[in-house]
Symmetry: C2
Subunit: 191 residues, 2 copies
């Protein structure tokens, strides 16, 4: 894999082990099998690094699959970048959707995603407090454990709001198609 010069990185590796800039404070298997316990999380641009970690999950940023132009404009206007100094809390949420989800046609998935589950609408309520980056795994290869890795960053005073955000989404029709979900909460490690 060749990094296109000048282009921002798209492929990221999240590694759980005993090193990394983020200290793991909770790992919850919301659905399906848990991941092995780890004390630190590393987020690395590219596919190499942290080869001795307990687990490594890769994902790649891509084009949006469901959002309309209007929704995209609203998101772009309100969202902030990752890496804000006061965002000392973060979450990594790997998700695998069921075969039934992937067998749906595009219009069926869109209806569930937004018209029923209000995925964008809910997310917008928590902007700009919560910054996020979505990584796709499903089309990286045949053996991926998850379909998506979403990385969220927020400040300590927004931790309760973040809990409300994920609770709203988990109550939606879309989440009936989630077969595996791990909720990994981290705080930025000192020094």
């Amino acid at each position: 894999m060749v990094q296109v010069s000048g282009a921002p990185p798209r492929l990221f590796t999240f590694a759980g082990g005993d090193s990394g800039d983020w200290r793991i404070v909770a790992m919850t298997a919301v659905a399906g099998e848990p991941l092995p316990d780890a004390s630190r999380l590393a987020m690395i641009a590219g596919a190499a690094g942290a080869e001795r970690a307990k687990w490594r999950l890769r994902g790649i940023t891509s084009n949006e699959r469901y959002v309309t132009r209007g929704e995209k404009s609203e998101l772009v206007a309100k969202q902030q970048d990752l890496g804000r100094p006061d965002s000392t809390c973060a979450a990594l949420i790997p998700i695998r959707k069921t075969a039934a989800w992937w067998a749906l046609a595009q219009d069926e998935r869109r209806r569930i995603f937004e018209e029923s589950s209000k995925h964008v609408r809910i997310g917008l309520k928590y902007l700009p407090a919560v910054a996020r980056r979505l990584h796709h795994c499903r089309d990286l290869g045949e053996g991926e454990l998850f379909d998506f890795l979403t990385w969220f960053e927020y400040g300590p005073s927004d931790a309760a709001a973040f809990d409300a955000l994920v609770a709203e989404l988990r109550a939606s029709e879309e989440w009936r198609y989630v077969g595996r979900e791990i909720d990994i909460r981290v705080i930025r490690a000192e020094g």
Copy 2:
């Protein structure tokens, strides 16, 4: 990468060189840079094999990105599988779309893809004569040369119809977003 047991393969490698079951009879750079000349094409399930070929392109089958339930039902009812004994002609068409395409929102891409360009509607006219399999490359990694590899199989008596199919698509609004396209025609090698 672990092959999920029982699941059909999703990842395929197309290799151009001096071996493979298909004899290359024409390679045309429709847009952008050509690929190096080769005499044979191999289609291999998985990511390994043909390491000494002149070029190797990988792609993975995935969920549909644009088709509605109604369109999907029409396609499924009319289309036939690859590997028909009388389909001795085939084409591999690698395509890369422009950054402008990928910056569009989902509803914008759908409008161009079908409401304007009639991508599904055109394809349906040539079923079941032309069998096809679409492979995605864009989200395999950061260094992929193409976004899609489409593989088509048909009989010699449908070769002119296949030319008409690709000509119709190339005249569409969608094709204004094609930055690179190679049209590789092959026939099944004897013995």
